[in-house]
C-alpha cells in the first residue's frame, strides 16, 4: 500500500516538486488493513512452505488470529480516534467513523465466514475441492470427493479479499477504490470455482462472475477516467468541489458518474446489474456464498455511500431520480423473481437483490440518518445472510447439499431446531419485528421518509410484503407439509459452523431486541470530506 500511496503522492504533487518531501506516513489508523493484508502474504508463504497435512490447521489459526488481531487494533484505535476522521497515506485513505463501523462489520462477518470455510465436520474435508487441478467427472475427481484434503489457498484468498474490502470502504480517491475493488474481486472469482462437489456448476459460476466482474470494472474504470477528465483529479473531495463549479462540460461528470455507479451497483448486486447474483450464489461453495453475500454487500455499499455522499452530494438533484428508478427496479426484480425460485440459495440471492434495493433507498437519502440507517441495515443483513447460508449448508443428501426446495418439505419434523432457526432467519429477512431485519428496515425507511421519499418507501413496503411470500413458502414447506420419503438428512454441525450460525442468529436477535448501542455506533459520525 505505502508504495502505491507514495507514487500517487507524486502524481498529485506538481511534477517539479522533489520526491524528498515524502514524510513517513502515519499508520496507526490503518493497522487493521495492514494486519490483514500482511497476514494474507504470510499465509501465502505458509501454503508454499508447509507440508500439506499442516496447512489446514495453521491456516485456520492464522486467519482467525489475523481477524482477531485486526479487530483488536481497530478497538485500540477507536479509543482515541478523531470523530471527524483522519486522512492517511497522503489522502489515499480516510479513516472516519463510517469507515471504522464498516471495518468492524466486515471483520465480524468475515470471522463467521472463515469459520464456515474452515469447517470440516459437515463435509469431510470441508466444502472445498482437494485439488482444483483435478478435472471434474474423472476418477480422481470421485477420489477427491471422498478424500479429506482441501485446497487451503482459500484462506489467503479470503484474507486478501477481506483486505480489499476494508480498503474499499475507506478509499478516498477513485483509483485506490479501483485497486481495492480488484483486490477484493479477484480472490472471490477464484474461490467461487473451488467447490468440492458439483464442480461444473462451481466452475461455471467462477467464469460468469469473473467475466461479468471484469466487464463491470471496465465500466467503473472508464467512469473514473471521465471524472478525472472532468475534475482533473480522482480524489472525491476534488470531484465534489469541481462539480460545485467547473468549466468542463457536465457530460463528462454525469457519464463518468453513471459508469462509476454502475460498476459499484454491480458489486452490490443491485438490479438490473444483479444478473450474476443468482447463478454465482448457487454455484459457489456455500461458505463462499456466505462470505460474498455478507461481506461484498457491505463493502460495495460502503463504497456507494462514500461516493454518493462525498463526491456527488452537490449534484444529487440531477441523479437522485435515476437512482430512485434503479432502487425500484431492484426491489421489484428481487421480490417478484424470488416468488418462483425452486433453489434455496437462488431464493436467498434474489432476496439479496431486493435487500440491495432497500439499502439503496437508504444510500440515496443523503442525510446523517440515511448514512447511519444504511450502515445499520448492512450490519443486520450481513449477519442474517451469513447464518442463513450456514444453515443451508447443513441440509444434505448423498450428493451434497440439498438445496432444492422440494427437499425441504417437512423438515421441521426431522429437525425442529434447524427449522426453528431458519424460520427465525427468514422472518428477519422478511423484516418481522423483534428481528434485526425489522429495525434495519425501520431506520432506513425512516431516513428515506424524512428525506421526502414517501412514494419510494411505500413501494418498498409493498415489495417487502411480496417478498414475505417466498419466505413464508419455505416456512410452510418446513412446517405444514409432509416430509419427502427420501428426504435430506440434517447434519449435526461441528464447532465451527455451530459457532458461525450462533453468531449470526444471536446478532440478529440482539439487534432486533436491543438495537440501541449499534444504532449509536452507526450514527456516531459522518464521512470526512478532505
Amino acid at each position: 500500500m505505502s508504495v502505491i500511496s507514495s507514487v500517487l503522492l507524486l502524481a498529485q504533487e506538481q511534477p517539479a516538486a522533489p520526491p524528498t518531501q515524502v514524510e513517513a506516513p502515519s499508520v496507526t489508523a490503518i493497522w487493521p488493513i495492514l494486519i490483514v493484508l500482511g497476514a494474507a502474504c504470510v499465509s501465502v508463504l505458509l501454503e508454499a512452505l508447509l507440508p500439506r497435512h499442516l496447512r489446514w490447521s495453521s491456516q485456520v489459526v492464522l486467519s482467525l488470529l489475523t481477524i482477531a488481531g485486526a479487530g483488536l487494533a481497530l478497538v485500540i484505535y477507536l479509543k482515541d480516534a478523531p470523530v471527524k476522521g483522519e486522512v492517511v497515506l497522503n489522502g489515499t485513505l480516510v479513516v472516519d467513523r463510517p469507515g471504522l463501523f464498516l471495518w468492524g462489520t466486515l471483520l465480524a462477518l468475515s470471522l463467521g465466514a472463515v469459520l464456515l470455510i474452515a469447517d470440516r465436520s459437515v463435509e469431510p474435508g470441508g466444502a472445498f475441492v482437494a485439488s482444483a487441478a483435478i478435472r471434474p467427472g474423472t476418477i480422481q475427481d470421485r477420489a477427491q470427493v471422498a478424500s479429506t484434503g482441501m485446497q487451503t489457498e482459500v484462506f489467503p484468498l479470503t484474507l486478501f479479499a477481506l483486505g480489499g474490502m476494508m480498503t474499499f470502504c475507506v478509499a478516498n480517491d477513485l483509483l485506490t477504490m479501483f485497486v481495492a475493488l480488484e483486490v477484493l474481486s479477484l480472490p472471490l472469482y477464484l474461490m467461487c470455482g473451488l467447490a468440492r462437489r458439483r464442480r461444473l456448476l462451481s466452475q461455471e459460476a467462477a467464469v460468469k462472475y469473473f467475466l461479468l466482474g471484469a466487464f463491470a470494472s471496465a465500466f467503473f474504470l472508464y467512469g473514473v477516467a471521465l471524472l478525472y477528465g472532468y475534475s482533473g483529479s480522482v480524489r472525491m473531495s476534488d470531484i465534489a468541489s469541481a462539480a460545485a463549479g467547473s468549466d468542463r462540460s457536465d457530460t463528462l461528470l454525469f457519464a463518468g458518474m453513471g459508469l462509476l455507479v454502475v460498476g459499484l451497483l454491480f458489486k452490490a448486486s443491485v438490479g438490473p446489474f444483479h444478473t450474476w447474483t443468482p447463478d454465482v450464489y448457487q454455484g459457489a461453495p456455500t461458505p463462499v456464498t456466505a462470505f460474498m453475500g455478507a461481506c461484498t454487500k457491505v463493502a460495495a455499499f460502503g463504497g456507494i455511500l462514500r461516493v454518493l455522499q462525498v463526491a456527488f452530494q452537490s449534484t444529487q438533484w440531477e441523479w437522485r431520480g435515476v437512482l430512485w428508478g434503479v432502487a425500484i427496479v431492484s426491489m421489484v426484480i428481487g421480490a417478484v423473481l424470488g416468488l418462483t425460485q425452486t433453489d434455496v440459495k437462488r431464493m436467498i440471492a434474489y432476496s439479496s437483490v431486493a435487500h440491495a434495493g432497500f439499502l439503496l433507498i437508504g444510500a440515496i437519502a443523503l442525510t446523517q440518518k440515511g448514512l447511519s440507517g444504511t450502515l445499520f441495515y448492512l450490519l443486520t443483513y450481513g449477519f442474517t445472510t451469513l447464518a442463513a447460508f450456514g444453515v443451508i449448508s447443513l441440509v444434505r443428501d448423498s450428493s451434497g447439499e440439498a438445496t432444492h426446495l422440494s427437499q425441504w418439505a417437512g423438515l421441521a419434523k426431522r429437525s425442529p431446531l434447524l427449522a426453528g432457526v431458519f424460520t427465525f432467519l427468514l422472518l428477519a429477512l422478511a423484516g418481522i419485528p423483534l428481528t434485526s431485519g425489522f429495525v434495519g428496515k425501520f431506520v432506513v425507511f425512516e431516513a428515506a421518509l424524512s428525506d421526502g421519499m414517501g412514494p419510494l418507501v411505500v413501494i418498498a413496503l409493498i415489495a417487502s410484503a411480496v417478498a414475505a411470500f417466498f419466505y413464508l413458502r419455505v416456512i410452510v414447506l418446513m412446517y405444514f407439509s409432509e416430509p419427502a420419503a427420501d428426504g435430506p438428512t440434517v447434519t449435526v454441525p461441528g464447532a465451527f459452523t455451530t459457532a458461525a450460525i450462533t453468531l449470526g442468529v444471536l446478532v440478529t436477535l440482539l439487534l432486533g431486541v436491543a438495537p440501541a448501542f449499534a444504532l449509536d455506533w452507526a450514527g456516531s459520525g459522518a464521512f470526512a470530506i478532505q
Binding site: Q12, F178, Y189, L190, L201, V207, K208, A218, G229, G283
Partner: protein, 99 residues
C-alpha cells in the same frame, strides 16, 4: 491535433470492446475484449492527463495495466480450468445455472 479525437477514439475502442463481449463466444476472446475496454480507458486517462497538464493520469494508466495483468492471471486460470473440463472455451456452453 486536438486531444478530443483521442477521447473519441478511446470511446470507440471502449464500445468495440463492450460489443465484443456481447457478440463473441470464446471466453478468451471475450476476455480480450474486456482488456480492450481497459486499454481504451488507459488512452483516455493519458489524454486527460495531457489536457490537464498533469502526470497523474499517466501514472494511473500504469496502475490499470498492473491490475489488468493480475486480472489476466486469475482469468486465464479460471478459463483454463473450465476448458480442461469441457474441452471448449465457448461461454455459451456453460449455462447449467439459469432461471
Amino acid at each position: 491535433m486536438t486531444p478530443t479525437y483521442y477521447l473519441l477514439l478511446s470511446a470507440l475502442l471502449f464500445t468495440i470492446g463492450a460489443v465484443g463481449v456481447l457478440v463473441r463466444r470464446n471466453a478468451i476472446v471475450v476476455f480480450m475484449c474486456v482488456e480492450l475496454m481497459l486499454n481504451a480507458v488507459n488512452l483516455s486517462l493519458v489524454t486527460f492527463a495531457r489536457i490537464n497538464g498533469q502526470l497523474s493520469g499517466q501514472i494511473m494508466a500504469f496502475f490499470v495495466m498492473v491490475v489488468a495483468a493480475a486480472e489476466v492471471v486469475v482469468g486465464l486460470a479460471i478459463i483454463m480450468s473450465i476448458f480442461r473440463t469441457r474441452r471448449t472455451a465457448s461461454v455459451d456452453d456453460s449455462n447449467l445455472l439459469k432461471y
